[in-house]
Subunit: 401 residues, 2 copies
Amino acid sequence: MKAEIIASGTELLLGEIKDTNTAFIASRLATQGIDLHFASIVGDNYQRYLELLKQAWKRSDVVITTGGLGPTKGDITREVIAGLMNEEMQVDESLKQNLESYFIRQKSKMPEGNLKQATLIPSAVAVPNPRGTAPGWWVEKSGKVIIALPGPPGEMQPMWDSEIGPKLEKRSGAIILSRTLKSWGISEGKLDEMLTPFLSGSNPTTAIYAKIDGIHVRITAKAVERRTAGQMILKAENEILKVLGDSVWGKDEETLESLVGKMLTERGLTLAVAESFSGGLLASALANVSGSRSFFNGGLVATSEPAREILGDHHASSETSLETTRALAAGVRTRFNASIGVALDGSRDLETGQTGKAFFAIDTGIPGKNIDQVYQWRPQQLVSRSIMYVLFNLRKALLTM
Amino acid sequence: MKAEIIASGTELLLGEIKDTNTAFIASRLATQGIDLHFASIVGDNYQRYLELLKQAWKRSDVVITTGGLGPTKGDITREVIAGLMNEEMQVDESLKQNLESYFIRQKSKMPEGNLKQATLIPSAVAVPNPRGTAPGWWVEKSGKVIIALPGPPGEMQPMWDSEIGPKLEKRSGAIILSRTLKSWGISEGKLDEMLTPFLSGSNPTTAIYAKIDGIHVRITAKAVERRTAGQMILKAENEILKVLGDSVWGKDEETLESLVGKMLTERGLTLAVAESFSGGLLASALANVSGSRSFFNGGLVATSEPAREILGDHHASSETSLETTRALAAGVRTRFNASIGVALDGSRDLETGQTGKAFFAIDTGIPGKNIDQVYQWRPQQLVSRSIMYVLFNLRKALLTM
């Protein structure tokens, strides 16, 4: 079953509003075993909208439109669908009554423009919209469907989950499952080479995505039965894990910070961090983990001499080094009464944006279990990559604790 | 001049990645006087991508593609363009040398797949990409243009602003200028009433957007000459400023944190912050301001008793209050040797997500010039709104210093 999405609205083409509906519907379709082949944005222009819808109707089995169901003259989705179907829009009495009682509840008079929200064409049935005045349209003809949904995500999303999703799943008769493996330390090109036999498979499919926390490998399987799809995924996953080994650090929704948080909690350990050029983002990543109060003692953003002196670093005016970074890690561990101290510091010329030389140190208070390193990244990526790199190494340290 | 955007990538159709490039390019085109007529998403499927590109090439003057320039087999944008143009891709020696020296600098061997990033077709010239390995393509034929840009926003956006934007502006022959006025403290509905006469204008147009740092008022003017557009904007701006007065705190690219940084620098003052539930994001907002080392002494993320005790707060285990928040602000000012201390703290039940009660205190060390407050926000917005609210009040305090 081939699907296609059309988001309408001149404001989308002007970049004034970001279209979030397409991504929402795309991820829902992906789990419903429906292939999304195209997605488009079109302005509030009757001819161009009709041209696009005509093409979509020809090449796809399910066409989903968002937007253009409002009361203004610019809202033309119903008119375009009626034009394509060559059917006439007529006021539906029961829809009209719903609309009128909505405005009575709001204690206001119904503007005339809203009346078109009570119209239907013969091929359309109305889809209830509990959050707004515009019902959707489910238009079925010659075995194909057009689904017209309102633009505001707060109205569209509940309509999808309560009405549209279940109806489409029944039509599709297939299920799609996927698993994401997250790796660190192998380049995208190298992974592509290592996984060549998997990448050419068609079911399950395997794809590679470069992300800020490393390279993700996504396995997707399609089957009639959920169980079959699950088995296909598991088989591919195990084979890929054999190839990639230790460089895979997590799966699906797992993040490096959530894994570190989980490991700390399991071991009854606590953590404190000192950071300079990352300005609080390392602390923020850890503080954001659910239940972080039980393992995260806090952090110091040490961008001045007095701040560094809190941790006993009296060399702030001199060049930073791996040695001072180690001292900061030990200092923050002691000062914040934590089991583990982490410091992330940069060389002074970081601020010129010329180099991306930085240091991290992990102080566990256990001789032989500390980790530290000087490393380098492109300045634009330094902050985000550094945070992931420190967390990756923190996970490594915790594996032996 | 009619433009059209094609974002490619199966991951976009699966909803795994949100396409932010289309909205970025759409808003840039809007300021360049270029009409965007269609925007589409297509997967990494040669036939469907070619079909779409063929149609775009027929109906539009400028076609902009994003994505599909990577080194993997799924990256097919170059192949599709070559297919449409019926031209052959050939390795360009100077591009190849750039690529090889990139990998030498990275101290790694160039994977074979990357070689296609050094190819061109006869109608294409390469667009430099300082942030990545994939140059863009500028393909010109029969008075029309295809512009192929890489998918990662961190690579695409600087390429747009340094290379593509200026070239397109020259082609378009019209100029659109806009000015954004940023307000705080007046509701969207109230602003809509106050600005009614402006909102119905057609050139310049005026529009209202609710944002995390308040309500933005955007004035946009279109003219052949840059000077004319500038004068139109200035006139409308002055009239709107008369209506909105003090509630406008900034313009265009100005952020609350950059304004605060500028005011601190001008006054020769320094700042330190203590925060709990915001986990380092207040520090990070300030540290991100260019030149922040001269005014930002650092911060403490105080999510545990030992952390709060560094600032002399020995009541950590008891209920937080405005009083302890004031003490944290005074403590962080003294401990970090700063002119001004700011504390942002929440009530203990914040973590249950039930209420959004929080406190802030600004300690200037000058009697009568301190500000503090208990306030409340919906839990989902609490962190981001709190940071803006504190910064807005910090600006207020600095106005009198």
